[in-house]
């Protein structure tokens, strides 16, 4: 861990972490404390963060807390229930037969299924991008196919989009880190979409090199979102916007026909 990273980590440690640091926090504090100036800054941070933290620790309504705990208990239930059920030999036979059927279906119609390695990670990435703030983007006016140089200058080498998507107008761009991997992101006015390009292997997202797009619906029912993702070489190209599978299919078809 270098000094710069250690200082950055220390600035993000809350009062409790400074009081009782975990492994990462201990390592960061050790490296950062080589500077007396940082040592004094950490003391100031700890002292003032503690005051602020104590002030904002408002009481939570009892009824809300018990409701939250009731729902929270269910978060751990499926795994426990599954492990008990799996011990039943009858269930095992049925499960194996079912798995064989699923394997057959997967083999016959792979392109019809949402599932692909890293689908959860793709959704998490899309969700991280969805909450981007306008101030995080650099405004520009260009088409998606001409952004390669801009991204190279921002340290992202390899930005390219499938040919049909190259003529889409782009009004904002950014590069951000997702789980330590650089992701290129562009704001496209059409359908209020986001375009993403990122290295496939590093994030473990592999929609397959068939060239066709995989489509996944995500987000809350009140504001459903959809992503379309395809792989080209070592990179993935992903489009997201508010809508459903049919809207994404139409968008991809129209783009590919350009």
């Amino acid at each position: 861990m270098n000094f710069k990273n250690a200082c950055a980590i220390v600035k993000c440690l809350g009062p409790g972490q400074l009081e009782d640091p975990d492994r990462l926090a201990r390592a960061a504090l050790k490296v950062a404390s080589k500077s007396k100036e940082i040592g004094a800054a950490v003391e100031n941070q700890k002292s003032l963060d503690t005051i602020a933290a104590e002030k904002i620790a408002v009481a939570v309504p009892d009824d809300l807390l018990s409701t939250m705990r009731e729902i929270g208990e269910k978060l751990g239930e499926p795994a426990a229930r599954s492990s008990a059920t799996f011990r039943n030999p009858a269930f095992l036979v049925v499960a194996l037969a079912f798995l064989a059927m699923v394997a057959l279906v997967v083999w016959l119609t792979p392109s019809q299924l949402d599932g692909f390695p890293g689908v959860d990670e793709a959704v998490l990435l899309a969700e991280a991008g969805d909450v981007s703030q306008p101030s995080q983007f650099e405004a520009l006016s260009a088409t998606a196919g001409t952004l390669g140089d801009w991204f190279v200058m921002q340290g992202f080498d390899g930005f390219q989009v499938p040919s049909g998507f190259a003529t889409h107008s782009v009004v904002g761009v950014r590069v951000f880190d997702f789980e330590g991997v650089k992701v290129a992101m562009a704001v496209v006015p059409e359908n209020r979409s986001f375009f993403y390009v990122f290295p496939s292997l590093q994030l473990g997202i592999a929609p397959g090199e068939s060239g066709s797009s995989r489509i996944v619906e995500y987000g809350p029912e009140s504001a459903p979102r959809v992503l379309g993702i395809s792989q080209f070489g070592d990179f993935c190209f992903m489009v997201t916007f508010e809508g459903d599978r049919r809207m994404m299919e139409r968008f991809i078809r129209a783009s590919e026909a350009r």
């Binding site: 710069k4 100031n44 005051i51 602020a52 933290a53 408002v58 807390l65 978060l75 951000f176 880190d177």
Partner: protein, 161 residues
């Protein structure tokens, strides 16, 4: 989530996070309950470790709060200076609601970053994932938010005389 008091503390932090982002108890209540429901549905067919589920809950709460269009309005301090050395009197004198209001009005992503730091409910790596920031960006946003909150409290104290 097995330990009862740790679980209560986590849920309290989740509610406080929503409260800071929204500054309305009724909306904070709705957002955390909706987020719990959403994460429950999403994880009911898979097994996630507790740390990841907790990070996901904060992420969903933040998404829902930001969609409620209650964004910060205080321009972030231009330099990432953290708490000014003379900020203690203003912080000590301020009430919970004054500090929450100052934090609430701070720009994103600093507002969420500092709230997560003060609530101390998730680890640094989880904060990076929740906010989609690198550690350097996270540190800068947090420090700028500290400076912005201190400035807001100082201005408020000066106005009060």
């Amino acid at each position: 989530m097995s330990n009862e008091s740790a679980e209560s503390e986590f849920f309290a932090s989740l509610y406080r996070f929503a409260w800071i982002l929204l500054l309305r108890e009724d909306m904070a209540r709705k957002v955390v309950l909706d987020a719990l429901g959403e994460v429950h549905v999403r994880t009911s067919h898979s097994h996630e470790d507790a740390e990841r589920t907790q990070a996901r809950l904060f992420q969903v709460v933040r998404q829902r709060a930001l969609k409620a269009n209650v964004a910060g309005t205080t321009p972030m301090a231009s330099a990432s200076s953290g708490w000014p050395i003379d900020a203690e009197p203003y912080l000590t004198a301020a009430s919970a609601s004054e500090i929450a209001a100052a934090l609430h009005r701070t720009d994103e992503p600093g507002r969420s970053a500092l709230a997560l730091v003060l609530l101390d409910a998730v680890e640094v790596e989880s904060m990076e994932k929740i906010l989609g920031l690198s550690i350097t960006q996270l540190a800068e946003a947090t420090d700028r938010a500290r400076a912005a909150v201190a400035q807001a409290l100082r201005t408020s104290a000066e106005v009060k005389g």
